[in-house]
Subunit: 364 residues, 2 copies
């Protein structure tokens, strides 16, 4: 089992990564002093529930914890205020009190929704993340939780750090291939923004990762979580540094919005976005090798590197304008300056981005 | 103009109290570096809007601030997730960004709802309180913001401190008499828990306060806010000391719930609750003078001191069991030990409280 700490002073917490570690869930809950007297609520979705819920509930029960389950529909629309209200109903019916915890068992959607429920129920109770997707290695670290509004994604939320994150590699082995690739896109991103050696490692170990080799997967998630935790430790509330985690996300979010959530998975959309950022870097005079390496890496992982031709440039630009990373009219953009390093630029013009979007349509 | 600081480290903020100070709203916003570049959203209700909104909007406009108004229905049902979603819609339409502020112009309902919107929009933007009721001197200090769930009051919320609180006595002069009395009930509470001399002052100045004498009102709100801010400074997230602010609230909340919100105003319900706490103090062996002083004070202010006979004791007790102040099954109760001092007791039994509820029905 690998362990690392997200260093946030009194809000610090550990991430445990390993194969089969879910079997020790009760021991880890005891170690982190989760209450056996107060009921806890386990939130999962209807795709994860058949795979893991029964076992988790049994392990908790055997360990002396009083847990109730709450199953929400799988998929992005579940990140809504209506589902939040449903979870609060379940929490009240289960008798949760201020010493209770909410446990998220699932991917990013479940983590974000359950996390915001934990942040706001009684103005904040304890929270545990048990991510069951590769992508969730990203969302489960850093304390950003939120639901969507019909007009904007992740617009209603909080910063609420978990007590611990428990990442069992076994839960990833049943993931469909497309989700594996898309999840690895965020892993690769953590290399591109912070760690050249790890980027090389990702290049060397693509086959193993795509085949879900447990040891390779465990190492990749460990480094991915580590990079994210270093960044988050230095800037918990996204005042500056944390913005670098958004490499590829400006275009990525816009593509997700315009394509309709589902046509492009998040990891796919940001892969295209990262290729775009590398192209922009070229225009700012940085080594054109950045673009070649980035693009070839994503191609190796079977991820898209170009914008589907049927997506309208005007619509993509419009979607970007609603992105909350526009601060006081200025456009903030994350650009790679070499492999493993990025800078936060505030002088990128809309025209430049539009040009990149056009170029990305012809990328192949 | 009186000024005091709520001391919370980097989240410290000032409270300004005085007659006519709203005229200087733009100057105070400038002093506290609210953004003129980013649009702000002023939230008020349909009772306050006709009285103050036009003037506030004009003053902000003249001061160079880009403000949009959002009017919600007056009354407790407005503290809902549905209204929160509506405010977020208004915020997105008005183009609020991470440097924007949400301004609450109104009583406790508006402050709690707008405050939770500010706490959760983009995971937290700046917030300003402009309370327009006496009662709101209490809710506007301390950063507790929330909406209700159909099954429980204030159950979905956050701790989110404002940038400043601007309390203009002029906005209180149009308050209906019943609301004045109910608001003063929380002012008196702040004396009873912390300040014997101020309790005596409240006894001596009842006539002036009830007649809305500006100087007396300004002083009473100043002391009320000061007591609350001292308590909040020492325990921002209600781990221990802050519980003393709940004097009278265990029975009070239950009465509000059972009577149906509206039959008993919050200030009326907690006045009865405070008389109950004084009776309980007697049973724990404290001076029976506490009960006499408490009761006579509330009678002097025209506030109720007994539970309406038609309210069922069983229902009141049931409502209390759902109160979130029950931690791990233990009953926490605030009891006065002398005038101006209280203790947090954790050994109060349900049977003892039931007896007090019965006794309060016969109080006169």
């Amino acid at each position: 089992m690998r362990e690392l700490t997200v260093d946030l002073g009194e809000r610090s917490y550990p991430i445990y990564i390993g194969q089969g570690i879910l079997n020790n869930i009760a021991g880890l809950f005891e170690k982190h002093q989760l209450s056996r007297k107060s009921p806890m609520l386990v939130i999962t979705d209807d795709e994860v529930a058949p795979l893991h819920l029964e076992r988790v509930m049994a392990l908790l029960r055997e360990g002396g914890f009083a847990a109730t389950a709450c199953i929400v529909p799988a998929g992005e629309p579940t990140k809504s205020l209506a589902q939040l209200e449903g979870i609060v109903t379940a929490a009240l019916e289960a008798g949760l009190d201020r010493s209770s915890a909410i446990v998220a068992l699932g991917g990013g959607v479940v983590g974000d929704l359950a996390g915001f429920a934990a942040a706001s129920f009684m103005r904040g109770i304890r929270f545990v993340q048990i991510p069951t997707t590769i992508l969730a290695h990203d969302s489960s670290v850093g304390g950003k939780v939120a639901v969507n509004h019909p007009m904007a994604k992740n617009i209603i939320g909080a910063f609420h750090q978990p007590e611990l994150v428990l990442f069992d590699i076994d839960t990833l082995l049943t993931l469909p291939s497309r989700q594996v690739k898309a999840g690895l896109s965020e892993v690769i991103k953590h290399g591109l923004i912070w760690d050249e050696a790890f980027t090389q490692w990702c290049d060397d170990n693509a086959e193993k990762l795509l085949a879900l080799d447990p040891e390779a997967l465990s190492y990749a998630l460990y480094i991915g979580c580590k990079v994210k935790s270093i960044v988050v430790s230095q800037d918990e509330r996204e005042n500056d540094l944390r913005a670098i985690l958004n490499l590829g996300h400006t275009i990525g979010h816009a593509l997700e919005a315009v394509a309709g959530y589902g046509e492009l998975l998040h990891g796919e959309a940001i892969a295209i976005g990262m290729v775009g950022a590398a192209k922009l870097a070229q225009q700012f005079g940085y080594d054109e090798n950045i673009h070649t390496v980035t693009k070839n890496l994503f191609l190796k992982y079977g991820l898209p590197v170009s914008i589907p031709a049927h997506l309208d440039t005007g619509s993509i630009m419009n979607a970007m304008m609603h992105d909350k990373k526009f601060k006081e009219g200025t456009m903030v953009y994350i650009i790679p300056t070499e492999i493993g390093k990025v800078e936060i630029r505030k002088d990128v013009t809309v025209a430049q981005v539009r040009q990149i979007v056009e170029l990305l349509k012809g990328e192949s």
